[in-house]
Amino acid sequence: MKGAEFITALQMADSAFPAGVFAYSWGLETLLSDGQLGRRELETFAEAELHGRWHGVERPSLAGGWRADTLRALSDWDATVDVSMWSESQRQHSKEAGAATLIAAVRLGITGAREMRDAVRDGQLIGHLPCITGALYRGVDLSLETALLVSAQGFLRGLLSAALRLGQVGALETHAIAARLAPTVVQLAAPPALGSLPTGFSPMTDIALMRPTAARLFIN
């Protein structure tokens, strides 16, 4: 990775990058409040989510967005990701997060962002978060390999920071967990084969994400 790409990757991976994702716990809050998950299980839960959800669902979804050469190709891929989702609430949250990401991207002048935002407004593009993110990472000249690493690390950080704000773990412990899971992140972030479809298995969070009213502090 060259210097410019490294700096861009750091910026995209910045937890302060304004894209609205801080407001989602991706099912964690519901699982904690239901007693399905305890603070001692946070690390194994995060690892399972990396395997079952990020690797199976987010990774191919993002890669497809990155690989889409045209708005039409992105729209087709986005529609494929849409029908692969389990529930309407997941679908809705992904679209909302995608819209928030596009707001920032348009203001920042990222290549392709305005066209994507207009296509979402016109109903030509659904705008799921991982597809939009993949296309934007390509727009800022991240390689697919780097884009996937940024995404995987951001996914893990999102879970851990939600746990931190829910009072389940301290800041130092979140970084200790992140360091221990770093090899897993690197191993899982290899680009998928062309045409790989989203196929995840994370039943606990899939069910939790279908219970939007159970979340109190986070969107879900």
């Binding site: 928030a100 707001i103 502090l217």
Partner: protein, 201 residues
């Protein structure tokens, strides 16, 4: 033309939602088409309260949940609110004004100018007469400081005149208004300020 975006921030219990409940009929009387976004710390209680009040059609009130960070959603990362405001504008092109109510936070809370054109900060006498002297960024930086619950000042041992004087001293030329949402006093003055500084600016 896009609708003006106005932030309403302040600590928990200062009366932000009560203020909106008083502003809405006054804005409607003047023909100002309004929508509201609430940023609830916990669920969408404030939005539900406003919907039940019936002063606006329910679909003109959106709730954005703040992920346990009421300041982040209006300051460091306001994109969820910006997306909600864009949705409202697309759905209701006739809108003149979008009020964005923050979740209750502390005196350090401020609004991003990426999100709003103008914002007010609400404090109340029951929170203590010394709040203005604490020089919180919310008190100092807002476009209008509202001191709510002026009617109960004698009952909570607060010298309201002194509180207003302290606020004016720390804010310099920027305006301060003492109001009572319960008694509906000086609500029209806030609307006048809004019209002058934002809607017809």
């Amino acid at each position: 033309m896009t609708a003006a975006r106005v932030g309403i921030g302040g600590p928990v219990g200062c009366g932000k939602t009560a203020l909106i409940e008083q502003l809405l009929p006054e804005l409607a009387r003047l023909g100002i088409e309004t929508a509201v976004i609430t940023n609830d710390l916990v669920t969408d209680e404030d939005a539900e309260r406003l919907r039940k009040g019936g002063q606006l059609p329910a679909n003109r009130i959106l709730a954005v949940q703040a992920g346990a960070c009421p300041h982040t959603v209006i300051r460091e990362d306001p994109t969820l609110n910006m997306a909600a405001a864009d949705r409202l504008e697309a759905e209701f092109p006739e809108l003149d004004l979008i009020l964005i109510e923050s979740g209750g936070d502390n005196l350090a809370s401020t609004f991003s100018l990426d999100l709003v054109d103008w914002w007010m900060f609400v404090i109340d006498v029951a929170g203590g007469g010394d709040i203005p002297r604490k020089n919180g960024p919310g008190v100092l930086q807002c476009d209008l400081l509202v001191i709510n619950k002026s009617d109960i000042a004698p009952h909570v041992d607060v010298d309201l005149d002194q509180m207003i004087a302290d606020a004016k001293q720390v804010r310099g030329p920027k305006p301060v208004l003492a109001v009572s949402c319960r008694e509906r006093s000086r609500i029209a003055d806030i609307v006048s300020q809004l019209r002058r500084d934002v809607i017809f600016a």
